[in-house]
């Protein structure tokens, strides 16, 4: 049975070029980039190249890239780093109700030490209103942190507009771009963001490595402290193999993006249309147009998503019920609840994410299998009966 992998938000397979480059480092380079001898310098060169490649993905300056252990560390660093640095200016931070847990839980910790958090509502498509951001800013506000794109419903926020407001009001602006970077174009020369988080595993790089873009002059305290690596912003001997993997993945994502974007959009269209034609009582989540091209979030009425995911896995199709990082949680997705969806419907949500290897045949396979699986579970569901009777 051939397996169809449609959970690319959880993890993407390594790009062949990434694998090759990482092997190269494992085989040939073990030095510490901070050493001034030839072994160290070979490592330092590889590190520099990865920094340039990562910067190019964002059209950033290489010195503004800080390598981290992944998206979660980048987000933690951005938020705690600004909070700590700006503690005497104020203790108010603005965010939204549908951020990734790495944002929400970091802010929860800051609440314990008396930071005040304003968490903005989003509309039914998951969009935040820039005017609401402007209105929430006070003299105490030190940071706005709003995701570029949502990882569960794909909605892309008006980051440029929010960034302009932040700049005008002199508030540091962080965007969690983990779900977006490497998928859609980002240009920090035009986008007014001070801090931006990304992770390599979203675009065919390795897990456990990411980056924080820090625009020069942004006040930020280190999160991981020790030596002077990463321009004194992130201590610890560099994870060179991972960082080289990130650099190559960033380069390949940048080069392949022009071809991949329209391909993703066509697959997305095909999937949504195909599901609508085959299965009644579906709700598609996220904004209809301002949305990530590789993600489809669909809520299936009358059933619960986990059973659906497990039965699809049995048929060789791997999808997610929600972001893998939250799947241990029993609660309905805070993102879907944040868009105003009722709990029962939110429980029946499937998250389907494409990758560079996804083909139209994969979508056909899902369209072939999913109606039967949904019906099996609906036949088992007490609320399906009731609704049919109504």
């Amino acid at each position: 049975m051939s397996v169809v992998y449609l959970d690319n938000y959880a993890a993407t397979p390594l790009h062949p070029k990434v694998k090759e480059g990482m092997h190269q480092i494992v085989d040939n380079v073990f030095g510490n980039p901070s050493s001034d001898h030839r072994f160290g310098q070979a490592a330092a060169e590889a590190l520099d190249q990865a920094r340039q490649q990562t910067a190019a993905l964002l059209n950033a300056e290489p010195q503004d890239i800080v390598f981290t252990s992944g998206g979660t560390e980048s987000v933690n660093h951005a938020i705690k780093g600004v909070a700590f640095s700006q503690r005497e200016k104020g203790r108010h931070i603005i965010t939204t109700n549908i951020e990734h847990k790495s944002v929400l839980n970091t802010l929860r910790t800051l609440r314990l030490v008396d930071y005040k958090i304003t968490s903005l509502d989003v509309d039914s498509h998951g969009l935040v209103d820039p005017a609401a951001v402007a209105q929430a800013i006070t003299a105490e506000t030190i940071l706005i942190t709003i995701q570029m794109a949502n990882n569960e419903i794909g909605t892309v926020q008006p980051i440029a507009e929010i960034g302009r407001i932040a700049k005008e009001r002199k508030v540091v602006f962080h965007t969690d771009a983990v779900a977006a970077a490497g998928i859609i174009p980002i240009n920090v020369k035009e986008l007014p963001v001070d801090l931006l988080s990304l992770a390599a595993n979203q675009f065919n790089g390795p897990s456990g490595v990411g980056a924080l873009y820090v625009r020069r002059g942004t006040p930020i305290w280190p999160l991981i402290e020790g030596g002077v690596q990463e321009n004194r912003k992130r201590a610890g001997t560099e994870n060179l193999v991972g960082i080289v993997g990130l650099g190559l993945a960033a380069e390949m994502a940048r080069l392949e993006m022009p071809d991949r974007l329209p391909r993703f959009q066509a697959l997305r269209q095909k999937l949504i249309q195909g599901l609508q034609e085959r299965i009644p009582h579906l709700v598609f989540n996220g904004h209809p147009t301002q949305v990530l091209p590789h993600l489809v979030s669909v809520s299936v009425e009358f059933i619960e998503g986990e059973g659906l995911m497990l039965l699809l896995d049995e048929e060789g199709i791997c999808v997610a019920t929600r972001s893998a990082c939250a799947s241990g949680s029993l609660r309905a997705s805070h993102v879907l609840i944040g868009t105003g969806m009722d709990f029962a419907l939110a429980q029946g949500t499937l998250l389907i994410t494409f990758g560079r290897d996804t083909t139209a045949a994969d979508i056909d396979r899902l369209l072939e299998v999913m109606p039967g699986v949904v019906q099996t579970l609906r036949d088992m569901s007490p609320i399906y009966q009731k609704s049919a009777a109504n």
């Binding site: 839980n105 929860r108 910790t109 009358f302 059933i303 619960e304 986990e306 059973g307 497990l310 039965l311 049995e314 241990g328 949680s329 029993l330 609660r331 309905a332 009722d342 709990f343 029962a344 429980q347 036949d379 088992m380 569901s381 007490p382 609320i383 009966q385």
Partner: protein, 170 residues
């Protein structure tokens, strides 16, 4: 994540469906709080002659419902009343810690169905209507974090020790 027995019962659930003209019906939980299990009984001479279920819920909730019907079938009502959540979880060779609440729902549904049957026998229930047991949040002054077992006060949204979300829906 799930034991082979849980997966077997989830993928090939036993006794799915409804019993028309059931002698007792138990309905617990609701889709809003995550899971809902309906249990239907056919009783003969105080013995559960047939039992079926319908469930809205995760893989564990479906497996629990299936195993529960297997355990209860052929038992006397008194025996079936003694089936505990723990019995169901054990018969399934364990459930992940954060899914144990699903097994609570299963035994509750069975007991509600038996009670409904007995009430009907005593002419207490409106005929044809299953007894609905609202699965209200447990009334507790302290609750224990399902992840680290730390005692937390009242309706704390997250564990003060490890920071995990505390599920109050159940």
């Amino acid at each position: 994540m799930y034991s082979p027995t849980v997966l077997d019962h989830f993928k090939n659930p036993r006794n799915v469906g409804e019993i028309s003209e059931a002698d007792g019906v138990g309905e617990v939980g609701n889709p809003v709080c995550g899971d809902m299990i309906n249990v239907y009984l056919k009783v003969n001479n105080d013995v559960i002659e047939d039992i079926k279920f319908k469930t809205f819920g995760c893989g564990a909730a479906i497996a629990v419902s299936s195993m529960l019907t297997e355990l209860a079938k052929g038992k006397t009502l008194d025996e079936a009343m003694k089936i505990t959540n723990n019995d169901v979880a054990q018969a399934l060779e364990g459930l992940p810690k954060n899914k144990l609440h699903c097994s609570n729902l299963g035994a509750d549904a069975l007991h509600a169905a038996i009670k409904n049957y007995r009430d009907r026998q005593a002419n207490k229930a409106v005929s044809g209507e299953g007894e609905k047991v609202p699965h209200a949040p447990e009334k507790i002054d302290a609750c224990y974090c399902p992840y680290c077992d730390m005692e937390n006060k009242g309706e704390a949204p997250f564990c003060k020790s490890c920071g995990a979300d505390l599920p109050h829906e159940h």
